[in-house]
C-alpha cells in the first residue's frame, strides 16, 4: 500500500513563470521516457522478478519514480500558473489550454497523450532489466536536453538532481542485471554439461518455464519413436 507524505522529495520553488519551458518539461511527466512511464514499468515488472532482490529493488525504485513524477508536476504547475492567454498562445500551448486550461495532463512535449505502449513487460528478468537500464539512460539524456534549453536556476536545480537519480537507478539495475545474468548463465552451463541426461533437465531449469514444456515435448517425441 502507499501513503502520501505532504512534502516533495526535492524542493521546487520556481519564481519566474515560463510557459515555453513548461511545454518542454511536460515530456518528463507524460512522454515516452517520463517518470510516469518509469513508475508504471517497474511496478508492473516487479511481480515476475525471480527473487526478492529484484522485487525489492523494482518496488523501491518505482515508488521513488512517483515522487519524481510529483516533482515534475510541481514544476510544470508553477511554470504555468500565472501565465496569460497571450503567453500560452505564444508558447504553442493554446491546444492544451482548449482541452485542459492550466490543469496537469500527461503528454509529451508535442502534446501527444501518454500511452502505456511506452513500456513493456516480458516476464523475463534479463529482458525487463535491459529495458529498465535503457529507460534510465534515455531519461537522463532527456533531462540533459532540457537542461541545455534553460538558464533558470530554479528549474536547473531540481533537473540536475533528477538527472543524477537516473544515474543511480541505472547503476542499481545494471548491478541486478549482472547478478541475474551470472546466476542464469551458470544454470545454462550445467544444462549444457548434462545434454545426454534428459531426465535431469527439468530439475536443472526449474518448474513452469517455457523450456520445461519444450523438453517434455522432446521427451514425448523420443518415447513415440
Amino acid at each position: 500500500m502507499f501513503r502520501y507524505q505532504k512534502r516533495l522529495q526535492f524542493p521546487v520553488d520556481i519564481k519566474t513563470k515560463n510557459v515555453r519551458l513548461a511545454k518542454l518539461l511536460i515530456d518528463q511527466y507524460g512522454g515516452s521516457q517520463s517518470e510516469l512511464a518509469a513508475a508504471l514499468r517497474y511496478f508492473n515488472q516487479r511481480y515476475t522478478m525471480p527473487d526478492n532482490k529484484g522485487k525489492a529493488l523494482l518496488t523501491d525504485i518505482a515508488t521513488e519514480e512517483l515522487s519524481h513524477l510529483e516533482i515534475i508536476a510541481a514544476m510544470v504547475y508553477q511554470l504555468m500558473k500565472d501565465a496569460t492567454i497571450d503567453e500560452i498562445k505564444a508558447a504553442g500551448l493554446d491546444a492544451h489550454y482548449a482541452e485542459h486550461k492550466k490543469a496537469l495532463y500527461p503528454t509529451d512535449s508535442n502534446g501527444v497523450p501518454f500511452t502505456i505502449t511506452y513500456i513493456s513487460t516480458t516476464g523475463d528478468p534479463l529482458a525487463d532489466l535491459s529495458e529498465d537500464m535503457a529507460a534510465e539512460q534515455k531519461a537522463r539524456a532527456v533531462y540533459e536536453n532540457i537542461i541545455d534549453l534553460t538558464d533558470d536556476p530554479d528549474v536547473l536545480r531540481p533537473l540536475l538532481w533528477l538527472r543524477q537519480r537516473e544515474i543511480v537507478h541505472y547503476n542499481r539495475f545494471k548491478e541486478l542485471f549482472n547478478y541475474y545474468q551470472k546466476k542464469f548463465n551458470k544454470k545454462q552451463d550445467q544444462v549444457d554439461n548434462n545434454m545426454n541426461n534428459m531426465t535431469n533437465m527439468n530439475d536443472m531449469l526449474g518448474m513452469n518455464t517455457p523450456m520445461d514444456n519444450y523438453i517434455v515435448d522432446v521427451n514425448e517425441a523420443i518415447l513415440r519413436n
Binding site: F10, I61, Y77, R163, Q164
Partner: protein, 164 residues
C-alpha cells in the same frame, strides 16, 4: 565547506557508528581526510547526507556531473526550512542505502549506516511535525483542531514546506 549546525548531528551520529567499529573515525567532516578516513559501503565512498542530498547521489563513485554544472546550494531561510531540509537529507541518505541493501542484504556496515540515518530521519520528522504540523497523516500533530492535514499549504503551492 558547510557550516550548518546539523553537521554536529552528523558528527555525533558518526561517533555512534564509530563506537560499533564499522566506520573509521574522524571528528570533523570538513577537514581534509586521508584515504583511510573515508566512509565506504561495498567499496564505494559515500558523501555526507547534506552533500549527497544536494548532489542527488550518496555514492561518490557513481556521481557524474553534467558538463560544467554544479549542484545548487540549498539555503534555508528560517528555522522551519532548516529543520525540513535536514529531515530531507537524512531521509534521502537512508533511501539511497535502502536501494543498495535491496541488492546487498548481508552488508552489515550498510545496514548499520542505514539504521542510523533512518532513525535520525524519523526523529527529525517527529520534531518537525510537533513544531510545524503534520507531513504524514499518522502524525500526533493531528490531534489539534482544525484538521491540520487539510489546513496546511501543499508542497507544490507557494509557502509549502518544500519551497526551500
Amino acid at each position: 565547506m558547510y557550516n550548518y549546525n546539523y553537521l554536529d548531528n552528523y558528527n555525533n551520529l558518526r561517533s555512534n557508528i564509530n563506537n560499533t567499529s564499522y566506520v573509521p573515525s574522524y571528528d570533523n567532516y570538513n577537514m581534509d581526510r586521508s584515504a583511510d578516513d573515508r566512509v565506504t559501503v561495498g567499496g564505494m565512498e559515500l558523501f555526507a547526507p547534506k552533500e549527497a542530498y544536494e548532489k542527488g547521489n550518496l555514492f561518490k563513485d557513481l556521481y557524474t556531473p553534467y558538463k560544467n554544472y554544479k549542484p545548487y546550494k540549498l539555503t534555508p531561510k528560517d528555522e522551519r526550512q532548516k529543520l525540513f531540509l535536514e529531515l530531507s537529507e537524512y531521509d534521502f541518505a537512508a533511501h539511497e542505502l535502502n536501494l543498495y541493501l535491496d541488492l546487498h542484504p548481508e552488508d552489515k556496515k550498510a545496514l548499520n549506516l542505514f539504521n542510523d540515518y533512518r532513525r535520525r530521519a524519523n526523529e527529525l520528522l517527529e520534531k518537525y511535525e510537533s513544531q510545524y504540523g503534520p507531513l504524514t497523516v499518522s502524525s500526533d500533530a493531528l490531534v489539534k483542531s482544525p484538521f491540520l492535514w487539510e489546513e496546511q499549504t501543499f508542497p507544490f503551492d507557494k509557502g509549502g514546506v518544500s519551497n526551500v
